[in-house]
Amino acid sequence: MLSFVAQRVVKGVIVLLAIVVLNFFLIRLAPGDPAVVMAGEAGASDQIFVQQLREKFGLDKPVPEQLFIYVKGIVTLDLGFSFRQQAPVSKLILERLPATLLLTLTAFAISLVLGILFGTFAARFAGTWLDTAITIFALVFYAMPIFWVALMGILLFSVTMDWLPSFGYETVGANFSGLGHVVDVAKHLIMPAMTLGLFFMATYTRMTRASMLEVKRLDFVKTARAKGLSDAVIQRRHVLRNALLPVVTLAGVHSGTLIGGAVITETVFAWPGIGRLMYDALLQRDYNLLLGVFVICSAMVLTFNLITDLVYRLVDPRIEFTS
């Protein structure tokens, strides 16, 4: 098990390095002098700063050497300096990371729990009106762009009904402490987390349903039934447990999409996470910050993939910890 984890971590680090190298070439794809590009476009940079950047990144040196300098910087967690925000990129990202983790993990939990729940119901009552209703519901949410769901949520729950705050992480100037603060943040969290979660919930609903219907027909279910087990026990202990495997796989594959969805969700709800940071970097054409966020997002996805890989093996003891 330990050697398996070590192996996967090494693999992840190699992929991350490859992404860093990709990053290095991406910034050179942008039109113009990379030093100017890194400093931020449209006159935000002065000559001295550009010259400093040129020296720091050795832009006058041959490309392989430049690459080496760049990778070395990132390995030591130096993601460069954001001229626009007047702060180191790594500091900006670290400040924003907790909010993004809170949002994505809540959304992930919502989508998985509701998705499996609805999927199980649909499979249990396959062919009835309940199944049809859940299926249509999932199809519609699967086809909605996240930004539009977010805006419709604001229109309905903030503008029309005035139930939930439409933007931000906490009430500005309220200075709640203790439980009051938790409740305040939770109120702000509900809509972004639901928005982000609903799309994935639709996916997991469909997957759970299809998977359960497939597992239901297998021989071991017949055996369980022949043993005289009750329907509920069969569903829960035999069918659901096996049917969850592809859902877990899918959840791992989706971690990248979840991060992408967070960019949109955080933008609409002004949620102070790294997705919002990415959007700001985008608006200001702050390429250094943009690519820094991109590297961190990739690292998050890799970590998440590693975790789902482990969970997968825990859920299914048939898979051994070797690769």
């Binding site: 992929v15 990709l22 519609v140 762009p145 539009w148 219907l213 969805g261 949109i264 943009l290």
Partner: protein
């Protein structure tokens, strides 16, 4: 072929999806001729609510531009970007998958590591970075959507080719001394086509969603109106004018829904052995 249409028309989701797609294509092709209102021109006072004037049925936006005209012209961009970027992704993914599956061994290893690498990168973040760096235009949007969506194609084709290359008719072709390229193109790929078609229809839907998200963030082609751009532009005035964001969003929802339904219908029609009860 006849059989295919018969089973496709038997599945309700396939029929509904086809109707929606045909409508959307009709709007994209003929709409701009029937509704010559330019989506960029000011036609009425700003913030005109919908259903008040028959000439601008869905109202106007913050600059007095016709929302309905924007939706009609936007259909072109959405469908075009969806179709073209899927085609480009197929052009990249099919050969990579076919070569990996056919040649196996080191070629397979190398190509699959390459594919996995692209699959690990968070796709929407990469698309944002690519469009931002290449500068927003319809070409950079198509390119970046294709870059993030080809890996599943390669993996699917590889799997199909792997199972097909050991079939007897392929062995027979090898024995008769056909070239590798001929065997892949004429013997293997035609038989691997149906799952690829199903995947492609779903990819068009995803591409439309991706394009609308990019445009929403302000990364759309500045010269072309699109649904995502309209929602993004209406976002700041949502409290005063709900219609600017609501209608283009419905257009996205219906097109994506239609394509997903077609995907399901195609799946039932092309892979009858895979279609399950109650699906």
């Amino acid at each position: 072929m006849k059989q295919f249409w018969k089973s496709m028309l038997k599945s309700p989701s396939g029929v509904i999806g086809l109707v929606i797609l045909l409508l959307a294509i009709g709007v994209a092709v003929f709409g701009p001729m029937l509704f010559p209102n330019s989506p960029w021109r000011m036609v009425q006072r700003p913030f005109l609510p919908p259903f008040t004037l028959s000439t601008v049925p869905l109202g106007t936006d913050a600059l007095g531009r016709d929302v309905f005209a924007g939706m009609i012209f936007g259909a072109r961009v959405s469908l075009l970007v969806g179709l073209v970027s899927t085609l480009v992704a197929l052009v990249v993914g099919v050969p990579i998958g076919a070569m990996a599956g056919y040649f196996g061994g080191k070629v397979d290893d190398a190509l699959m590591r390459f594919t996995e690498f692209f699959q690990t990168i968070p796709s929407f973040a990469l698309a944002i970075v690519l469009v931002a760096i290449l500068q927003p235009s319809i070409y950079s949007i198509v390119a970046s959507i294709a870059v993030v969506s080809w890996p599943p194609v390669a993996r699917l084709v590889r799997g199909e080719v792997l199972s097909l290359r050991t079939r007897e008719y392929v062995q027979a072709a090898v024995v008769t001394g056909q070239s590798n390229a001929w065997i892949i193109l004429r013997e293997i790929l035609p038989n691997a086509l149906s799952p690829v078609i199903v995947l492609a229809s779903l990819m068009v839907a995803t591409a439309i969603l991706l394009e609308s998200s990019l445009s929403f963030l302000g990364l759309g082609d500045p010269n072309l109106i699109s649904w995502g751009y309209m929602v993004g532009a209406g976002r700041t005035v949502i409290r005063q004018a709900w219609w600017i964001t609501v209608f283009p969003g419905i257009a996205i929802l219906i097109s994506v829904l239609g394509l997903n339904l077609i995907g399901e219908g195609l799946n039932d029609a092309l892979n009858p052995r895979l279609s399950r009860e109650g699906r």
